[in-house]
C-alpha cells in the first residue's frame, strides 16, 4: 500500500511516525521482508559528513556610513568575491589567504582558508573584514576595515553548488613517490587507499534513482535546516550501475542552501589537505519518505552491495585517463584493507562514518519529536534518462 508525504507528515505531527536510520532499515528488511517493512516504516534517515569543496557562504554585511560599493573584499586576509551588490559578498570554502606560500615549500601546509573562516564565523568568532573600492557619487567611500560577527550580519546563507556526491573514487598511488591529493596523502606503491563516502548511510546511495530527493527537499544541513535547490554541478546520473541500480562511479550531486545563523561549527569544519589546499567538511542528513516498496528496497542497500572504482591518483586521475584499477565495495573498504594487484592495501577515509551515523540519529530524533516535517519536492533531480551528463572540457585554440 502506497503512502503519501502528506500522510507521513500527519503522523510526524501526531508523534506517531516510525523513523529509522539507513543502517537500521537493513536489519528490518532482512527480518520482516520489504513488504511488511514498507508498511511499517515512514521515514529512513540518511547522512554524510566529509569534505565538499564546492561550498561557501554569501552574506550582506550592512551599509557603512558613508557608504562603500565594495569592489574587493577580504575576510581575515582571505579574498571573498565582491562582484555582487554593494555590500553582498561570497566566500568560497577553498579560497586561500593572500600570500599563502601554497606549494612553494612542498608539500604546503594550507592551514587556513575559506572553510576555516566559515567554521569560525558559525562558532561566533569575530572576523576582520576589509573592503576597497573606487569613488562614486552614491558610494563615496574607498576603504573600509572593521570586525564582523555572524549575529550582526543581515543575511548569511550557506550555499553549496555541489555537495553530497553519490559514490566516489577510491584513491591510490602507483608511483614511487608520495602523492598529496584532495583525497589525502597517498603513500607510494599502493601504500594506502583513501575513500570518501558514507556508503550505506549516504543519502543518494539510498535513493539511487532520485525518486524522493529533489528541489525543495528539506534536509539537515550543517546542524540546522536546509534545502536541496538544484542538482549539484557535475551531476552525472547516467553512469554504470549495479543490478540494484546503485551507481558504481561518482554520479548524482546536490546543490543545497540554508541559513548559516542556525548552523553549528561541529558540522561545518575547515579542512587542510597537505600539499593540496583547504576546503570544508559539511554534515548533511536527508530523510527519505518510504512511499512504497521500491523506495524501501533501495534504502535497505548495504555496504557490501555498493561498489566504488579504485583510481590511480599519480597518473590516471591527473591525466584524465579512463583506467579503473578495480571495483571494491564499502564493506571491504571499512574492513581496513582491500586487495589491489595482489597486494593488501590498508584503507582510510576522509569522510567520517561515525559523524554520518550521529547525523542520521539526530535527524531521526528531530522527526520523531515532530519538529521536522518532510517536504514534497517541487521537481525531481534529472535521472538516468534525462540526457544530462558531465562533459569534459574541449579546449579550443
Amino acid at each position: 500500500m502506497a503512502k503519501t508525504i502528506a500522510q507521513i507528515n500527519d503522523r510526524i505531527k501526531k508523534g506517531e511516525a516510525v523513523v529509522v536510520t539507513a543502517e537500521e532499515i537493513i536489519d528490518l528488511v532482512n527480518k520482516k521482508g520489504v513488504k511488511q517493512t514498507a508498511k511499517e516504516v515512514d521515514v529512513v534517515t540518511t547522512a554524510t559528513f566529509g569534505p565538499m569543496c564546492s561550498s561557501g557562504i554569501y552574506f550582506n554585511f550592512g551599509h557603512s556610513k558613508p557608504r562603500i560599493k565594495a569592489q574587493k573584499v577580504w575576510l581575515n586576509n582571505v579574498p571573498a568575491y565582491a562582484g555582487l551588490g554593494a555590500v553582498d559578498t561570497y566566500l568560497g570554502a577553498t579560497e586561500l589567504p593572500e600570500n599563502d606560500p601554497t606549494n612553494t615549500i612542498y608539500p604546503g601546509e594550507f592551514k587556513y582558508g575559506g572553510g576555516h573562516i566559515i567554521e569560525e564565523l558559525v562558532a561566533g568568532k569575530d572576523i576582520r573584514l576589509k573592503a576597497i573600492s573606487y569613488r562614486t557619487d552614491c558610494y563615496p567611500r574607498k576603504e573600509l576595515e572593521t570586525w564582523i560577527n555572524i549575529k550582526d550580519l543581515n543575511e548569511v546563507v550557506l550555499f553549496n553548488p555541489r555537495n553530497c556526491y553519490q559514490n566516489y573514487n577510491v584513491a591510490v598511488n602507483l608511483s614511487d613517490k608520495v602523492c598529496y591529493t584532495y583525497l589525502g596523502v597517498l603513500q607510494p606503491r599502493l601504500g594506502n587507499a583513501i575513500y570518501c563516502s558514507a556508503g550505506q548511510l549516504s543519502p543518494l546511495l539510498n535513493d539511487p534513482l532520485y525518486l524522493t530527493i529533489g528541489l525543495g527537499s528539506r534536509i539537515f544541513l550543517g546542524g540546522g535546516i536546509g534545502y536541496v535547490v538544484w542538482q549539484g554541478t557535475q551531476h552525472n546520473p547516467d553512469v554504470v550501475r549495479g543490478e540494484n541500480k546503485v551507481p558504481k562511479r561518482p554520479a548524482g550531486t546536490l546543490a543545497v542552501i540554508g541559513d548559516l545563523k542556525q548552523m553549528n561549527s561541529q558540522w561545518l569544519r575547515g579542512v587542510s589537505m597537505t600539499g593540496y589546499g583547504v576546503t570544508m567538511a559539511v554534515g548533511i542528513g536527508i530523510p527519505i519518505p518510504i512511499l512504497n516498496e521500491e523506495i524501501c528496497q533501495y534504502t535497505a542497500v548495504k555496504d557490501s552491495q555498493i561498489y566504488a572504482p579504485v583510481i590511480d591518483y599519480s597518473r590516471v586521475y591527473p591525466e584524465r585517463e579512463p583506467d579503473v584499477l578495480a571495483e571494491v565495495n564499502y564493506a571491504q573498504l571499512k574492513s581496513g584493507k582491500i586487495i589491489i594487484q595482489d597486494k593488501e592495501v590498508p584503507t582510510g577515509a576522509l569522510s567520517s562514518y561515525a559523524k554520518a551515523r550521529e547525523i542520521a540519529n539526530i535527524l531521526k530524533e528531530w522527526i520523531q519529536g515532530g519538529k521536522f516535517t518532510l517536504t514534497e519536492p517541487v521537481q525531481l533531480l534529472p535521472s538516468v534518462d534525462s540526457g544530462i551528463t558531465c562533459q569534459p572540457l574541449n579546449e579550443r585554440p
Binding site: 589525502g184 569544519r269 579542512v271 582510510g348 577515509a349 567520517s352
Partner: protein, 135 residues
C-alpha cells in the same frame, strides 16, 4: 632509573657503527628503538628510548656525542585533540605503531600516547588539524 627519548642523527660515516650495542654492553643501559631511518643521502636517523642509572645515562650520551652524532631530545608529545577529531580514519593506515586506533564497530578513533613513536605521519595526513606535535 631514568628514561630519556632522544633523536640521533648520524653523519654518513657513523651509520655503520653498532651504537646501540655499545650503549647496552658498555654502559648498562636499556635501549628501545622507536624508529630507524636512513635517508637517500645516507644520513641516519634513530629514535630511541634509553633508560638506566643517571650516571650511566650521562656517560652513554657523552659516548654518543663523541662519535659526532647529533643528539636531541625527542619531540615530547603528540597531542590528539579529541574534540577536533572527526573520526575520519585518514590517519589509520599511516600510523605505524597503532597509537591511533579505530574501533570498527563504532567507527571511532582513539589515541594511546604510550604506543606513539612520534614519527609525525599523522600530522600530514590529518585534514582536520586534530593532531599536534609539541617539541
Amino acid at each position: 632509573m631514568l628514561k630519556k627519548r632522544v633523536v640521533l642523527t648520524f653523519p654518513k660515516e657513523t651509520v655503520e657503527q653498532p651504537i646501540t650495542y655499545h650503549l647496552i654492553k658498555n654502559y648498562d643501559l636499556m635501549v628501545n628503538i622507536l624508529s630507524a631511518k636512513i635517508n637517500p643521502d645516507e644520513e641516519g636517523r634513530l629514535v630511541i628510548e634509553i633508560s638506566g642509572q643517571r650516571k650511566n645515562l650521562d656517560n652513554g650520551i657523552n659516548y654518543i656525542k663523541g662519535l659526532g652524532v647529533t643528539i636531541q631530545p625527542l619531540a615530547q608529545d603528540v597531542k590528539w585533540k579529541e574534540d577536533r577529531c572527526t573520526h575520519c580514519t585518514a590517519c589509520i593506515p599511516l600510523c605505524p605503531s597503532h597509537a591511533l586506533m579505530l574501533d570498527r564497530v563504532t567507527m571511532k578513533v582513539s589515541f594511546d600516547s604510550d604506543h606513539c613513536i612520534l614519527c609525525g605521519f599523522c600530522l600530514k595526513a590529518c585534514p582536520y588539524q586534530a593532531v599536534e606535535i609539541l617539541y
